[in-house]
Symmetry: C2
Subunit: 135 residues, 2 copies
């Protein structure tokens, strides 16, 4: 398990995603203030193009530098404001989802066992927190 490579790849995905979010924010602003530019940016930012945030920005920089600078500024702001919260949110949400899936799976197993003539209490012995499943 090459954790360094995973961290590097994940950071790249995250950068691209924040670039996409920056474009979304700017689009929402332009729709209010300058609809023709919003229309142009929306057309320019097709789904295929924005998948790779860096390639997207380099292309935009050649077409409309001022717009590219705006995206760069907003994504840097997002990186500064948002990323520090991510480790906690992601760890908590993965932990929570995992607990939930284990619970659902145990429920499915125990429901199947209702028609089972032999009671098998040892199946729940590994999960002391799920006592209420015995009811």
């Amino acid at each position: 398990m090459d954790l360094k490579q995973v961290a590097k790849d994940t950071a790249k995905v995250l950068s691209s995603y924040l670039t996409y979010q920056a474009v979304r924010i700017i689009l929402a602003q332009l729709v209010e203030t300058d609809p023709p530019r919003a229309y142009w940016l929306s057309n320019f930012s097709g789904k295929d193009r924005i998948q790779d945030g860096e390639a997207y920005l380099q292309a935009l920089l050649k077409e409309k530098p001022d717009m590219a600078f705006r995206v760069m500024t907003v994504r840097q702001h997002l990186a500064e404001e948002v990323t520090s919260f991510l480790p906690e949110i992601v760890q908590a949400s993965i932990q929570q989802a995992n607990i939930e899936y284990r619970r659902e799976h145990l429920e499915r197993i125990t429901q199947l066992n209702i028609s089972d003539p032999i009671p098998r209490p040892e199946q729940q012995a590994d999960e002391p927190n799920l006592d209420n499943l015995d009811r």
Copy 2:
């Protein structure tokens, strides 16, 4: 700019991506230890399916619970080991890329100005770190 919503959406993308990375790691292990299961998991984990990590896990849990538990364990490990480094890497890489794009853009502008009869040194006045562009 709804930073809370951006953080929430970004965390979701990140969770999904770590689920995908967990599947990749397990696939690499299974190719060595249990090729038929590697083949099965690879077929199950099509591109469309793995886009949403939570939907993917719920489907896998119904088909092969032991495999789903393995993915859940690995992604939690990744979340614990990798996410804490992300804020620093992402902020640094976005900052670095932004500097690079500004530099490239200035280079393009100044190259265009070679044919310009009037020297315009004030164009570089905002970028004190880019002195070597004057050469």
